[in-house]
Structure formats: structure tokens, C-alpha cells
Subunit: 296 residues, 2 copies
């Protein structure tokens, strides 16, 4: 199904379906106007956010879709934000949407088959208290009581966030004034979360534990925003020490750029104790491959 999140988009999908002489299966993303209590950049369920449509607009869209011979309204979707650690906002939004599902059935005779509860289940980066998944499931089931509807969920970060570790090498130790910096060969282009969200990632120097002191872990990119951690305790390091930056499986490589003409890192999968390369390191030749044939 195509998940539609504005009236204009619904009109567009209908037009394209008509051109193809097909019927498009659609769901509608509802914005329940609930504050998910997370970082503003990954909060998505308030009317001040761009996502989805309010309840009244959703009703109009289901009416319009039911009338159209090119649209088949079969689903509903809501997603209030990412890295959620509180159940209450989820409960509130799921109940709002479940009531809408009942209203649509009663008033419009549209029986939705799929309820996409979105994702957003938080993970442990630091010392977060997580949502209990049994309670999460029960909350959704309670809200949907009496409805014959298939639940869809998309907990991407929950599944892969803590499966990924970003491994980087120490280049240098340096001190500016009183401040200790550990300069590593990874940078903000490889893992943007600390810079973009001021996010915390647990960091360890592999095989080292002595002479710890407070430091910033920084990369070699040309911005003071190029950091992985500020004011954390780390042991004294040496050139080529390996450092593990944990919880990098979600929003890590996917947000990587080539800033400072840096190729993207290699990706290694570890399965049953064995490692294998699943993505080659990007070379300078890869970076310019799309341009050189057009330069004279």
C-alpha cells in the first residue's frame, strides 16, 4: 500500500492510478498531535511537525478515497517520533487513531485492514529506561480491542541500533590549554549523531584501561562540530589504538557523507563468530566516478 500524508498527495496518487488504470491501495498517515518527549528533530507527531494530517483531514481523505474508483483505502498509519522512552504518548496516540478507525468504520463503512503503529522504540545509548515491549504490545492490543486489523510496526533502531559498532583508530593525543583531545581517524561524516543531535554514544579504547582522564574525542574534519564525545573519561591512548563507538547500527552509515572528500567506511558483518566484508571501503576513484567522464 502507498502511505499518503497530505490531501495533495492523495490527489496525486489518484491521478497516477487513473493514468495507469489501476486501483491504488492506500493508507493515510495521521498526526495525532501528541508530544513524544524526544529530540525536536525526531519528534514527528505534533501539528507543528510536517508529518501526516490531522483527524478531520484524515476523515475527509477516507471519504474521498472511498468515492474514487482508483483508490482503495485499506490502512492507517501514525508515527509520533523516534528514540521514544515513554509509553504514555504512544498509548495516547494509538488510542486516538484506534478511535478514528472505529469512526471510519461506523460512519463511512470503510473497514481498514492494516494499522501501522510506526516505530520509535528507544534503545540504550547511555542509561535510558526503555519501554517494556510486553506493555508496548499490550497497550496497542488494548487500544485495538474488537477490531479485526493487522498490526504493522517498524522498530528499525530497536532492531539494529545496538548491533552496529563504529571502529576507529587513534591518530594523536593533544592538549590545548587545559583541554585533552583524542584525535581519531573517524569523523562527523561517518557518524553524524553527536554533532546533529548532541547524541551520546558509549566509547571504549580497546585493550586499554589505565591513566584515565577527561577528554574530547574528535575527528580530523575542519569543524569544531566534528566530535564524537565531550568531557568523557578515557585511558591514555597511543597512535593506532582501536576505539569502539557503540550503538552505531542505526543512523550511522545511513547518514554518512563524503564531507572533506572522505570515502565512506567499509562495513563488516559478524555472524556466528565469523566476519566478512559486506561493503567495500569507498576510494577516491569511487568519489569522482560520476563526474570525471563529463569533465574535459
Amino acid at each position: 500500500m502507498i502511505n499518503v500524508e497530505s490531501e495533495a498527495e492523495l490527489t496525486r496518487v489518484e491521478l497516477m492510478a487513473k493514468n495507469l488504470q489501476k486501483q491504488a491501495r492506500i493508507s493515510i498517515r495521521v498526526n495525532p498531535n501528541v508530544d513524544p518527549k524526544t529530540h525536536p528533530y525526531i519528534s514527528t507527531g505534533l501539528h507543528e511537525n510536517k508529518f501526516g494530517v490531522d483527524i478531520d483531514t484524515a476523515k475527509r481523505m477516507y471519504i474521498s478515497a472511498k468515492k474514487s474508483e482508483y483508490l482503495d483505502p485499506i490502512g492507517i498509519h501514525c508515527h509520533i517520533g523516534s528514540q521514544l522512552t515513554q509509553l504514555a504518548p504512544i498509548k495516547e496516540s494509538v488510542n486516538i487513531v484506534a478511535n478514528l478507525v472505529r469512526n471510519i468504520k461506523a460512519a463511512l463503512d470503510v473497514e481498514l485492514k492494516f494499522f501501522d503503529v510506526g516505530g520509535g522504540l528507544g534503545i540504550v545509548y547511555d542509561n535510558e529506561t526503555l519501554i517494556n515491549t510486553y506493555e508496548y504490545a499490550q497497550t496497542i492490543l488494548d487500544a485495538l480491542h474488537g477490531l479485526d486489523i493487522t498490526i504493522v510496526c517498524e522498530p528499525g533502531r530497536y532492531l539494529v541500533g545496538n548491533s552496529g559498532v563504529f571502529v576507529t583508530k587513534v591518530l594523536y593525543e593533544k592538549t590545548n590549554g587545559e583541554k585533552r583531545f583524542v584525535v581519531v581517524d573517524g569523523a562527523m561524516n561517518d557518524l553524524l549523531r553527536p554533532t546533529l543531535y548532541d547524541a551520546y554514544h558509549k566509547i571504549e579504547v580497546l585493550g586499554k584501561s589505565e591513566n584515565s582522564s577527561t577528554c574530547n574525542v574528535v575527528g580530523p574534519v575542519c569543524e569544531s562540530g566534528d566530535f564524537f564525545a565531550k568531557d568523557i573519561e578515557l585511558p591514555l591512548t597511543e597512535h593506532n589504538d582501536l576505539m569502539a563507538i557503540y550503538s552505531s547500527g542505526a543512523y550511522g552509515f545511513t547518514m554518512a557523507s563524503n564531507y572533506n572528500t572522505r570515502g565512506k567506511v567499509a562495513e563488516i558483518a559478524v555472524e556466528d563468530g565469523k566476519d566478512r566484508l559486506i561493503r567495500k571501503r569507498e576510494t577516491f576513484e569511487d568519489l569522482i566516478a560520476l563526474e570525471e567522464q563529463y569533465l574535459k
Copy 2:
């Protein structure tokens, strides 16, 4: 010359030069501890920033380099930040570094040949008052009075920032509650500056001027941080209207990522009124080219 910015790096360059049985021409990046009055992420000349070494450390490094048969100290560098709009901090830092050049000559008999004053000259994004370039040059010349030294400068943003325009298409107009959103097909992965620095970019809808009202310009990426402008006045748009996002020549494409599996945009050069493709649009096949051969 190799620009060195820590004692550990100098040791490393010396070791590598020795291994190669070469003499490495080096310069040292000095951190003058001057506040450049710009965004914290692009402020680089304070001791709390990771960049460069303080004056005393620089002296030790020049002594060490002079003694080494594998190092040839010929330059000095300082760069206090980017998008600078005030001359006073530049004057202060250039004078600090010029005095260091004189001290090094008098005390160590090391005569530096290159003075890299860095970059950082601001450009007009909104209504900034710029540094007068004649006064900028004169300030540097005044500071270097009596020295026979070649000036190097690197005003990248100043040269290309306003030469680039990011052109995107309107997908939809939508309203959430009272809030108008113009959804375009470009996104934060294409131009990160608004999201990362809360930076202002002037925006115009090409060929439209009527029915203006306040809106946010947002992309289709899955974050509320995916925006180009908040609360700006724009005319009412339609699907496929072209929108110009100005001042995108610096820190635009260079910071682009493939977030949300979005290929990087095509780049078009316009020269003498003629346009030509200089970089092809990245396809899905390009995105997975480095991984597929390793997947079973």
C-alpha cells in the same frame, strides 16, 4: 608543505620522513585563542577547540623541527573560524601570529617563508555586513610589515558559496493545524546547513509572486530536522514549481549524504550562458555498487 597541528603529529611526520629518507617541508597551525564571533561549530581558534597548538607549543615545535634533519620548518598557519563578518578578531590573531614569526626569526634563526592566514571570509546569506576585502588585505599586510614572507589564503566559501544554487521541485502544499508547509523533493541529505547550523538560505519560487503567506519549506525525509526554512514568506505553489535555494555553493553538495537511500543530485555548471552536466545524478545502482558483489 605539510601543515602540522600537534606535537604528536610532528613526531609522526618526522618518523615517516626518516623512513622515506626525505626532508619534510612543514608548517605549524597555531591556535591564537581568539573568539571569531561565529557559529560554535565553525569557530576554530579558541583553546577549547581541537585545532592547532598554542604559542608556547608552537615555539617548542619549531625548535624541534629546526634540530631535526628530516624536517624543514618553512610555514605557519592560523584559521580562527568560518563565515567571519568581523575584522577585529582576524586582526588580533594575525598580529599574534606575526609576532610569533618575528620571535622565531630572532630567537631560533628560523626564517619562515609562508604565512597561511586561513580562510573564513563571510558571505551574504541574508543581510550580513561583510568584511571589506581591501581592509582585510591591508590588516594582514600591516601585521607582516618588515617580513619577507609569502601570504597564502584559502577563502573557499567566499569564492564559491554564492556561485551555487540548489534547485528543487515542489511536491505538495499542506497545512497542519494553522501551519503551512511547502514540501519539496530536495531534503536535508542534499543541503544540511539549515538543519546542522540553523543556517538561513534565501529561497525563491521561480516565476511566482502571488498569494504569499508564511510557511516552512521541508523535504520528504523522515525527520522534523528536514527543513530548508522556517516561517518565511512564499507565494502559493503548485506541484513541479521550481524553487531556488541560494548560497548553496559551499557546504552544500560537499556535505550531502545518501540518507533515506537518496542518490546525490546532479551538478550543472553554467558558463558563458551555457549549461552542461558536470556530475551525473546518483542512481540506486550506484548506491549499492560497493556492496552487491560481496552479498551472497
